[in-house]
Amino acid sequence: MTDRLDDRALEAALAELGGSLMYPPTPQLATAVAMALRAQPGRRSWSFGRPLRRGLGLGLAAALLVVGVAAAIGFALGGLRITFGGPSPESAIPSDGVSERAFGDPVGLDELGARLGFEPLAPTLAELGVPDHAYVAEPPSGGSLALIWGDRPGFAADRGSGIGVVLTEFRADIGPETFEKMLNSGVRVESVSVNEGPGYWIEGGEHFFFYRDADGEVVEDTLRLIGTALVWEQDGLTLRIEGAPSLRDALRIASSLSPLRTE
């Protein structure tokens, strides 16, 4: 027996151990990366093959590295742009309560038909029941509807605001980028199919919705800074569910949507 472990034996054992380790499953990074790049406006195309173009390319690359990585990687749904890695939300919504402006004017469910330019949908999920509040905002064209539920079984309300689930709807054919969703560090986006339409599940880190008013000013559109959101397109609408504890729960809500009957 030797007093000192043999170097080669130890290295071989480490290499062998490396091959037998269990790691968490590898996520589908290629798909996510390609999706983000394809959604980018003005995808760059340059060559490093020719010296002159290379010089130009480097200048362009430097600009894109700052602008591109910092702000320009995004996904789009009708009327909604989802943007990665933007600046910190200086216009962050105060955490001490609900901003009425964020949702619009409070309305009764029986008024929705007259106030909206589309047929609203509502979940029929038994746990949620009838929404506690309904708000209509305009712009966008056709209006935007926010249905709000407080604490419900399986859908715990936020302690600060008392709000559990928020379902927002607006027409998907309104101008692009009317609404924006800014994602900051630590946010994960998963491409999902919702009721056979394209959608994204967003969770973790800081993210917030906002839209720009007629003067181009940012107007906060939600009270949530941290939480989950499922956004998707369906029947000519862009819809989002905030506050569901999991993707599965959000999909349960989404699959139960049907035209809102207001008698």
């Binding site: 054992a13 380790l21 790691y23 990074l29 990366v33 790049l37």
Partner: protein
Amino acid sequence: MEGRPLTDVELIERASHGDVAAYEELVRRYEQLAFRVAYLVCGDADEARDAAQEGFLRAWHALPRFRSGAEPRPWLMQIVANAARNRRRGSTRRSNLALRVAQDRPSDGAAPSPEVAVLADERRRDLLAALSRLREEDRLVIALRWFADLGEVEMAAALGVARGTVKSRLSRAMGRLREVLASGDREAWTDD
């Protein structure tokens, strides 16, 4: 040649001209390695996923700086490792790297006898236990070298040190691992 899979160098050349599909294929080839490297650095699967994705996106934007004709793997791993290191540094959470040995690992050749398989499994677990007793810095440099099979440049990026420091750090870490193992049951390491 028709139907021939493109090489990494060809894929990155196409990607540099804006071909997202080529870049997607390149990422697919390295997504597992990138994720595992990021996992070894971050110690958290979610952070590792974010770091690897961020690294690949950054690499796309940095393509004009990529040296034409070079192998893309070290360059990609360097960027991913850097992103992982930055995330780990910015995270308030402590690393909680949980590595486990797979059960019933498939054999390359003839199946070993049950006794040999049990001994091999025990030895792997002992080695992993010894690693877990090392300082985090030592454990990481060993994991990057022997588990992720990274080269010096990639390791330097992952550790945030100069290339010349990698060798000495690895050597010290291996020395400490030997000490830990020697303080336990040495016989299992010197018999074969």
